[in-house]
Symmetry: C2
Amino acid sequence: MADGASPEIGTRRERARADTVREIRETARRVLVTSGPEGLALRAIAREMGLSAPALYRYFPSREDLVEQLVADLYDELSDHLEAARDAVRPPRPGAQLLAAARAFRHWATTHHAEFGLLFGSAAQGVVSGDVAEGPAELAGRRFGGVFAALMAQVYLEQPFPVPADGELTPELQEQLEAWCAKLPVALPLGVMSVFLSCWIRLYGMVCMEVFGHLRFALADPEPMFESEMRRVASELGIVEDCSPPS
Amino acid sequence: MADGASPEIGTRRERARADTVREIRETARRVLVTSGPEGLALRAIAREMGLSAPALYRYFPSREDLVEQLVADLYDELSDHLEAARDAVRPPRPGAQLLAAARAFRHWATTHHAEFGLLFGSAAQGVVSGDVAEGPAELAGRRFGGVFAALMAQVYLEQPFPVPADGELTPELQEQLEAWCAKLPVALPLGVMSVFLSCWIRLYGMVCMEVFGHLRFALADPEPMFESEMRRVASELGIVEDCSPPS
DNA sequence: AGAGTGAGTGAACAGCGTTAGCTAACGCCG
DNA sequence: CGGCGTTAGCTAACGCTGTTCACTCACTCT
């Protein structure tokens, strides 16, 4: 999807190279799921595809770059998953679609622990890097976030839900939200942005806690709590459609 | 605090050993902050205290156990920090204390990135381990959670806030919450437990996203958003006290 | 005083990311 | 078709990691 180059382009060598790069990414993906984020070693990837480790340096300048490419691939895969769930909703009302995407997010996370850990855990570049690295991972991450943002906007535009007026927000928060809004394609009331962030925080928090095991102190099976949270969020957004999960 | 043994106890050797263990833990802590979670190497710890790496195996059976001990220490330190913030609130109304603890949590997280990453990131044992390991880290983690749980209970007992009735909860969720409630010292309505979890999810989600950099796509400075979230949560809990941060 | 225990050591193993230097095959151009 | 430059891949090596083994030395207890 992001690498949508027709296979007939470029010289023979360039095609072979592109194939190898693709194979490396697929193999890395496979090693990730079988060995976990900690076992994602260059040598393991090379071994898996019958290469020596230094050979990979012909294709990626360092392990970090390879991992970043993998992160981008995973974000894309996750985005595809969300969009598929969104588009499968009949009738296509934005509210139901938003809930479907949220459930798809949790489903993907719980069935792809290693991948989720790589994307959203602290192992990513997140902990320390101060400036916003404009790599492919960042780009793919934006696409992922955009899926939820677009749905949220549609929900609001179709049927506005109660939102704090600009005056109710702290001046500091207004400033932050305005700066963000300026980077977005469509302008929405600042209150909508704050509600979107709030909802996203709840979804992220819930799923992260479940996958990282920080909910086991209370719940053996977090799904009912997840559904409860979704219901609360949905009611805050004025979503009145059938909220029962598709199961 | 957790290791409250008087210094006069045990034989000479036992005291020396306890001192060394303590020194190892302190050194590990120091290495963690200077080199990050990835740089927390046995050899680095040993080097820092003029030892060879294998010497540490006299005190900890593996690096994993040392890290677990460190996690427990950090949980204790964080709990102390929260309790100090809680106890500094005058007058000591539970609502204001809960807010103070939440702010102290964020403050500790943002000023202790490496430590927070070790406690709450995916690098911990959380991603894979299926069963609940009853190590010292788990115990210290429970103490940490207990600070918030106790405050929440006090807030409710002093002035009950609106809470879903048992009948409004899914049977599955009721079951989960009852199982949890059975492990707790005091029994509270299931609705309170669900609201507590919901609030904790929001706090955890907000702080995790900020520290792990998953909020930079929107906010350069997440503090105003954090305060906004706290205000929302507080109003849900019927907390009407002065909500302004102490700054 | 002699035995035993335990702390600490260096050497070693397997694995990691990464670099350097080499070989051999490939594609292109005259 | 012959030669040349590019490039994929290799091995060897460096420094790092966690961990084990065999050993020494000092301290403790009988």
